[in-house]
C-alpha cells in the first residue's frame, strides 16, 4: 500500500512537472515576441536618449550577479528538500527571497530613475519596448517572490511533505527559467546597448 502511494506520487510529480515545463516553454515564446519587438525598435529613439546614454554597466552587473546567486541558492534549496532537510530548505529559500527582493528593488530604482529624468516608456519606441521587456521579466520575478513567500510560510508552519517536493521542483524550474531569460536581457538589452 505504502509503495503504491509512493509510486502514484511519483507519477503525479512527473506529469505535473512536465505540464509546468510546457508552460515555461510557452513563456519562452512570450519573451521571444518582446525580444523581437525590442530588437526591431531599439534604434527608434525619436530624438530621445539611446541605450548607450542611459544604461549603467556596473549597476546592471550587480543586478545580474544577485539574480544568478539567487538561482544558485534555490537550486541548493531544492537539493535540501530532497534530503528532507527542513531547516536548510527554509534558510536557503529565505536567502533566495532576499536576493530576489534586492534584485526587484534595484530594477524599480532604475525604472524610477529613468522616469524621473523624463525617459519613461512614453519617451520613444525604444523606451516603450525596453520597459515592456524588462518590466515583464520584473513581473515574473514579483510573482515568483510571492509564490516563494507563501511556500516558505507553509513549510515553516506544516513542514515538508512528499507533495512539497513537487511544488518546490516547479518553483525551482520557474526561478532558473527567469535567470536564463535575464542572461539574454543582460546581453541583448544592456551589453548591446552599451556597444551601440
Amino acid at each position: 500500500m505504502k509503495e503504491d502511494t509512493a509510486k502514484s506520487e511519483q507519477v503525479l510529480q512527473d506529469k505535473t512537472v512536465f505540464g509546468f515545463w510546457v508552460y515555461l516553454m510557452t513563456d519562452c515564446v512570450l519573451f521571444a515576441t518582446l525580444f523581437a519587438t525590442y530588437a526591431v525598435l531599439r534604434n527608434n529613439t525619436y530624438g530621445g536618449p539611446s541605450g548607450q546614454v542611459i544604461f549603467s554597466l556596473p549597476f546592471v552587473l550587480l543586478e545580474t550577479l544577485i539574480l544568478l546567486t539567487s538561482s544558485f541558492s534555490i537550486g541548493l534549496a531544492w537539493l535540501a528538500a530532497q534530503k528532507n532537510n527542513k531547516q536548510l530548505v527554509l534558510k536557503l529559500m529565505a536567502v533566495t527571497i532576499l536576493l530576489g527582493a534586492a534584485f526587484l528593488v534595484l530594477e524599480l530604482r532604475e525604472f524610477n530613475h529613468l522616469a524621473a529624468e523624463g525617459n519613461s516608456w512614453r519617451r520613444s519606441a525604444f523606451l516603450t519596448s525596453f520597459f515592456t521587456l524588462v518590466g515583464t521579466h520584473g513581473l515574473h520575478i514579483t510573482a515568483g517572490l510571492m509564490w516563494m513567500a507563501v511556500m516558505w510560510l507553509r513549510i515553516y508552519k506544516y513542514g515538508l511533505f512528499k507533495s512539497s517536493l513537487r511544488k518546490i521542483t516547479m518553483l525551482t524550474l520557474f526561478w532558473h527559467f527567469l535567470d536564463v531569460v535575464w542572461i539574454f536581457i543582460f546581453s541583448i538589452v544592456y551589453l548591446f546597448g552599451v556597444i551601440g
Partner: protein, 137 residues
C-alpha cells in the same frame, strides 16, 4: 530534471554557478574594455557576435547544470517541447528582424540604413535605393 532527482549532486550546482559567473564576467569585461577604449579594440559587430555566443554558452551551461536536462529516455518529451519552443523562438526573432529591416529599407524616415545613412524624406530614400541597387532611373 524531474525523474531521476537523486542522481543530481550539489557539485553540479557549484560547477554551473562557477561557469555562469565566468561567462557573465567575460562578456561584461569585453564590453567594458570596448567602451573604455572608445570602440578601438574590437569592431562593434564582432563584439556583438561574441556577446551572443557567450550568452548561448551560458544558456547551455544552465540547461545542463541547473535544469539538469539530459538525453535519458524519461526526459525525451521535455527535450521535444524545448526544441519546438527553440524553433518557434528562432523563427519569431530572426523573422521579425529580417522583415522589419527590409521594411525600414524601403520606407522613409525610419532609422538608419545598413551602411549607416540616415534617411529623412521619401525622395532621399528613393535616391538611396536607386544608388544602392544600381538602378538607372
Amino acid at each position: 530534471m524531474i525523474n531521476n532527482q537523486s542522481s543530481v549532486k550539489p557539485r553540479n550546482y557549484y560547477i554551473g554557478f562557477g561557469l555562469s559567473l565566468l561567462l557573465t564576467l567575460t562578456a561584461y569585461l569585453l564590453v567594458w574594455r570596448h567602451a573604455q577604449s572608445h570602440h578601438a579594440v574590437f569592431t562593434d559587430s564582432s563584439l556583438r557576435i561574441g556577446v551572443i555566443v557567450l550568452a548561448l554558452l551560458q544558456l547551455i551551461v544552465q540547461l545542463i547544470f541547473f535544469l539538469h536536462l539530459n538525453f535519458k529516455q524519461n526526459l525525451r518529451w521535455n527535450l521535444t517541447v524545448l526544441s519546438f519552443a527553440a524553433i518557434v523562438v528562432l523563427i519569431l526573432v530572426i523573422g521579425s528582424i529580417w522583415i522589419m529591416t527590409n521594411l525600414n529599407y524601403s520606407h522613409a524616415g525610419y532609422g538608419k540604413t545598413h551602411d549607416g545613412h540616415t534617411l529623412t524624406s521619401p525622395s532621399q530614400t528613393n535616391q538611396y535605393i536607386i544608388q544602392d541597387e544600381g538602378v538607372q532611373p
